[in-house]
Amino acid sequence: MATHCEEIRIGFYVCHCGHNIAAMVDCEAVARYARKLPGVVVSRDYRYMCSDPGQELIRQDVREHRLNRIVVAACSPLLHEHTFRTATERAGLNPFHCQMVNIREHNSWVATRKQDATRKAKSLAQAAIHRVRFHKALQVQRVSIRPEVLVVGGGIAGIHAALTLANAGKKVFLVEREATIGGHMAKFDKTFPTLDCSACILTPKMSAVRSHPNITLWTLAEVTQVEGFIGNYRVKVRRSPRYVLEDACVGCLECIDACVYRSPKFPDAFNEGLGKRKPIYIPFPQATPKVVLIDPATCLNLKTGKCKQTCLEACGERQAIQFNQQERLEEIEVGTIIVATGFKTFDPRRQPLYGYGTYPNVYTSLEIERLVNASGPTGGEVVARDGRKPRAIGIIHCVGSRDRKTNVWCSRVCCMYSLKLAHLLKEHSEAEVYNFYIDIRAPGKGYEEFYNKLLDDGVHFIRGRVGEVTDWAMTPEEEGRLVIRVEDTLAGCVRRIPVDMVVLATGLEPQPDAQAVRRLFNMSCGGDGWFLERHPKLAPVNTFADGVYLAGCCQGPKDIPDTVAQAGAAAAEVLSLIDKGYVEQEPNTAYVRDEDCSGCKSCIPLCPYNAITFAEDRQKATINETLCKGCGTCVASCPSGSIVQRLFEDDEVFAEIEGMLAYDA
């Protein structure tokens, strides 16, 4: 192993990357320049350094020229640092004796003149050659992975991920905020494009979750704290009181009949407020767990303490109802986390021109899902809020999507679910159905065919974004109805179309507390507020927090097949980690030199990963190197310069700067 007393023998390689680099950088000139620099023994340019022959070149040179340092000028270290470190290691050197120079992303792709790009490549190369001399031999740390998994969110994504993991024999904690799992999918009537009954395909999975010995299901629960690091997370979960013992309740629902409120009185959130419920209720017949709950905001006994408590009598000996139930805090230890917190739908009150909230017969798509559902508030009959049976229905696409004033993205599912609702509304009523769209986006297996089927069914498709929905009639036909004013852009004229019911195809949005959740799990959000995947193409379920994975719509709008696919992928990533049993950690961590630390504690609050603690006995700061992510914040802040970061030690960084400045064109 190379030490400081040993002679430094550097091998330098410039990659052409096809035309990516060679078109803008004179690679040969860079190699010629580097050859003259102190310590450089070999300097070459090569077409594709990352290819097998390219890596073989490094190995051969190390053998022939007794090299002990390698510098590769190529693409971003994000892409190929691992490749070249491995090549260095296979040549018998310490992998951290290799340094990469980015002359593609930082140079050839952004430069406009070949001359300047070549100069920049030379100076970057010189900086790296100066620096690599000071590299120390470092060892990769191994961290073991606990086999327990936390899944946050019990929608179809969370359910599928939890079942996949549990079936593989892993212990899963499934935490759901609502009183039942199932998420949005439980509210749907049918699913596009096959028109499968949504409940029929979802509820078997829900009861499988409930009965699975490997799954611990906590509903009405929220994650409040996450500590630790990949493989070893300590998570606190707050479980709100249900006022009903889950183990004692058998779901006979007699308490609901016995409630002092004779008839349901309060808007039912599961039916989007279209139906009513009592203070003690079950969200829907197939709710999982099939346990009633009491809403403390509406229950007379919990609000005032003055109630005959008829529900207690009805429950009888089972004694499942416990009015004194308190909030509980659970603490669990897991190795990995899957975040599947889902989405919320756009609130169309933000776009007043569509009249939602003003005209009672304007509905959101989720409300229509409940309206056409056989277990919905009307038993599947299409009746408007004013009791009318609609003769004509208008479905407005892109509400709260593709709009710079609200959400710029396409929500991906609205076109298809609008087609599905058009089909269902036609099936459940006699009405003419009009779709108002900007573009029909039906990219998926069987989706285009479904669109063709609707055209055959005689559903009207009018290409134009609706200007307004009004009750202001201009012709006798429009009296007492809602009028949609729209430019039929294909016919080339402005039209007024009277309808009795308007359906707003509301888009998908990140959950309102997405930012708080992001901070909780140390993830990132994109500019649009969706959780950010590590790489949009090659790491679509990973996050920037190691050991935390994404599934479903919390990462971006997607339909059920894509959600299930992503949940499966997240579960597979988790399984591969658990089966391996450990991860290797980059040794670019920081450590405190005890002799210099004054114990001022200024670094402790600055660490974004809570990796620094204060050792009271020694009065010194200490860094937990498994938590440290190598951000360098503490290094920069330490007033006594006592914190050192491996791979970024002072002599390395200063040598790099000197090398950069020493370059003289």
């Binding site: 021109l353 892109c398 593709r402 709009d403 710079r404 004033k405 900007i438 573009d439 290409r463 134009g464 974004r465 609706v466 200007g467 307004e468 004013r485 729209v486 430019e487 039929d488 852009t489 080339g492 004229c493 402005v494």
Partner: protein, 203 residues
């Protein structure tokens, strides 16, 4: 029966026209138009237009200068700004309409006899000459240049205005008009496609 050709050859378009309009500050976002038709859907006057606002956007972007500048649409625009408010791409459609109006006036291709075009032109011309407008003169000019016979029908109103002293016979003007003109007419060397075009007609 004579058949007109309705096909539009690429030679019929003026590619620079769209580019010039989109270079004017405030009109850049025309590039982003997705032709959804919201502008036409909310426009209270679109029912009288020969080309809907959406079509004007498409024709402008593609450089069909003649169709756009001779269109009634730009002169029917009442500047209610409903289109600009509702546009999902935040295109300042009303501002683009103003830019097109100015170009139509400059090229003298506005529809003859349509009072809004004449009013706009005379209004701007009067401000240019005198620094302010005198309504009595403006109204007379408007009637003379559009439908002078209609003015005769208004004699009773006119007489009443004269009697109350509301119909001045003297042209009102500001002082130091030369300075105003220097502000309105930039020197030839700093005129460019991006400078706000003004009516450079000599009075």
């Amino acid at each position: 029966m004579k058949l007109d050709r309705t096909i539009r050859y690429q030679a019929d378009s003026d590619r620079d026209f769209g580019r010039q309009v989109m270079a004017v500050p405030g009109c850049e976002r025309l590039k982003d138009c997705i032709q959804c038709g919201t502008c036409s859907g909310v426009c209270p006057l679109s029912i009288y237009m020969d080309h809907s606002p959406r079509q004007v956007m498409a024709l402008t972007r593609e450089g069909f200068k003649k169709e756009v500048l001779e269109s009634r649409t730009i002169w029917l625009c009442a500047s209610c700004y409903a289109c600009s408010v509702e546009c999902p791409r935040q295109i300042r459609i009303t501002d683009i309409m103003y830019e097109l109006k100015q170009r139509a006036l400059r090229d003298r291709v506005y529809p003859k006899g349509l009072p809004t075009a004449v009013l706009a032109k005379e209004f701007a011309g009067m401000v240019h000459r005198n620094g302010r407008i005198t309504e009595s003169f403006l109204v007379v000019l408007l009637y003379l240049k559009t439908n002078w016979l209609e003015a005769l029908g208004q004699w009773r109103l006119g007489l009443g205005l004269v009697r109350k002293g509301r119909f001045p016979f003297k042209l009102d003007a500001i002082r130091r008009r030369a300075e105003l003109r220097r502000m309105l007419d930039p020197e030839p060397d700093d005129t460019s496609a991006t400078a706000p075009p003004t009516d450079r007609r000599t009075p």
